[in-house]
Amino acid sequence: MSMLACKNLAVRIAGIRVVDGLDLEIRPGEFWGMLGPNGIGKTTLLKCLAGLDEAASGRVQLESKDIDALPRKLLARHIGMLQQHTVYVFDSSVMQTALTGRHPHLGYWEREGPEDFRKANEALDAVDLAGFAGRSVTGLSGGEARRLAFATLLVQEPDLMLLDEPTNHLDLRHQLRIMQMIREHTDRGRRSAFCALHDINLAARFCSHLLMLFGNGEWCAGQTGEILNESSLERLYGCPVERLESASGPRFHPVPA
């Protein structure tokens, strides 16, 4: 059974065709990567999958129900999204921010219980922010704010994680950590992830499936091993790419013309 399905989906932004006739099924256990050049509409498509924006035509369904018809609270228990930017206007503590991930799981007057605090602590620990619980969010560095946003997503425990360039602002070690955690999230076989990326090699290494956006609504989707090659990457980015074999699989490098 598919967790999230796009059926003949067309997405537009400001007159640009992002995808046309997109048929896609994200099943439990799958880790999808979305590749495409800047400004091609990756964020727009993610927002559409999260039910934030409306599609031009076609449907997005969560377990066979149109997501527009589902209440936001219910949706938030199944789909969570890491946005590209996180801006904090009002001061708040790191712990309090991480706990907002529990919001969709709590009732009107309900307070966070010990279990919620445990989940938040675990998530902060997982992103190396264990000692930061009492710190103010406005004082965090770009990378720390990013990791906090990811921790909040972990606390939310959605079945499907949508991530908009999760490795932005992160150093090498934390890039790997985050990708590993997303894979662990999908490894249990009950959950899935779908993430916009710019790093082809992270995609090659971690993603089980890829969606490539070529512009003009053209796209191609499939298992990573089948569609990730020099020719598809050259078509995607408009620059020559060479393939190198490494111990852990193929790696791709741009070749200066």
Binding site: K73, A76, G80, S92, Q96, T100, G101, H103
Partner: protein
């Protein structure tokens, strides 16, 4: 986040200081009552000073506390609504509509007892104008609401200036006091207290949703909030709070801006703690300010809005400066 014990201690402290402020306000004035006199007056409304305490000072102190709480709560809501820590209860023109209606009433000589009702209907007109103009189609836009509100407020301000220019000299002082904010003739109407309590409970129920909303509309939607509905509810609640406060005491400035700020510094930005703390502190702050306004130049009475502004402006500049240093 505040530990539960600390939070309860703070609420208890604020409640005690609130009680103390009302006690002070009812014992100080043209006749200063000692502890024993005050107590016997309180126990026996028919005694020598009972009338003074029960008919004059207590209603005024209760009105001050309620108005302070109304304005502070409204300020907290407006700041989340516009995602701007500098928003205050008057920014969207509610008070302008109320003031214009009240001043128009004074100009044509309506009885003073009818002024609150008149002010309330003026505020309601303003709320509906802004609501229907800013609502429109398409996604929620805080900017559109802000601009509609600010421009509406300017419109009211122009009409108020017109009234002040054309109005009879005899009513000018009364109008001025209304515009600055004054509690001299304020009596606590029970419906105002009922509005305060009801909206306060609703706010507490929504507090966690507002915490999420403060992180941005998109984030709030992703965490399960139907934000458009929530934002209009917040706008209407804040407007009703403001309209109620203004109809009792005119445009008392700075309470609705300063108190939410001070409390954010003290208790953090969790609205479950912020709402009760701000309401109680706003109440006691206005009771103290009004007592100062009555006594500092006695027998002359100052409009309380002058005192809150004189206390509020330096306090606010200090806070701003502190915030800059912290960054």
């Amino acid at each position: 986040m505040m530990p539960t014990a600390q939070r309860r201690l703070l609420f208890l402290l604020l409640a005690l200081i609130s009680a103390a402020s009302i006690m002070m306000a009812t014992s100080i004035g043209s006749v200063n009552l000692g502890w024993a006199q005050w107590w016997s007056a309180l126990l026996d409304p028919g005694s020598e000073f009972g009338d003074l305490v029960w008919r004059l000072r207590l209603p005024r102190a209760a009105a001050a506390w309620t108005v302070g709480a109304l304005l502070s709560l409204s300020g907290c809501l407006m700041q989340v609504l516009l995602r701007n820590p500098l928003a205050d209860p008057y920014i969207l023109g509610v008070s302008g509509g109320a003031s214009f209606a009240a001043l128009l009433g004074m100009t044509i000589g309506v009885s003073a007892a009818l002024l609150p009702a008149l002010a309330w209907s003026g505020a309601l007109v303003s709320i509906l104008v802004v609501f229907s103009l800013a609502r429109g189609e398409g996604p929620w836009s805080g900017t559109r609401l802000l601009l509609t509100g600010v421009v509406t407020a300017s419109g009211w301000a122009a009409l108020i200036s017109l009234l002040l220019t054309l109005g009879p000299d005899g009513s000018l002082r009364g109008m001025l006091f209304w515009l600055i904010g004054d509690l001299s003739y304020a009596r606590l109407p029970y419906w105002a207290l009922a509005i305060l309590v009801t909206i306060f409970m609703v706010c507490l129920g929504m507090a966690r949703s507002l915490n999420v909303l403060a992180m941005g509309e998109t984030t709030a939607r992703l965490l399960g909030e139907p934000t458009r509905k929530l934002l209009w509810v917040v706008y209407l609640l804040a407007s009703v709070l403001t309209a109620t406060a203004v109809s009792i005491a005119g445009n008392i400035g700075f309470v609705g801006l300063i108190v939410p700020h001070l409390m954010r510094l003290l208790v953090g930005s969790d609205h479950r703690v912020l709402f009760p703390a701000a309401a109680m502190f706003g109440g006691l702050f206005l009771v103290f300010s009004d007592t100062l306004a009555r006594t500092v130049l006695a027998p002359r009475q100052l409009p309380v809005g002058v005192v809150t502004a004189l206390l509020g402006v330096p306090l606010f500049l200090l806070l701003l400066n502190r915030a800059r240093v912290k960054q």
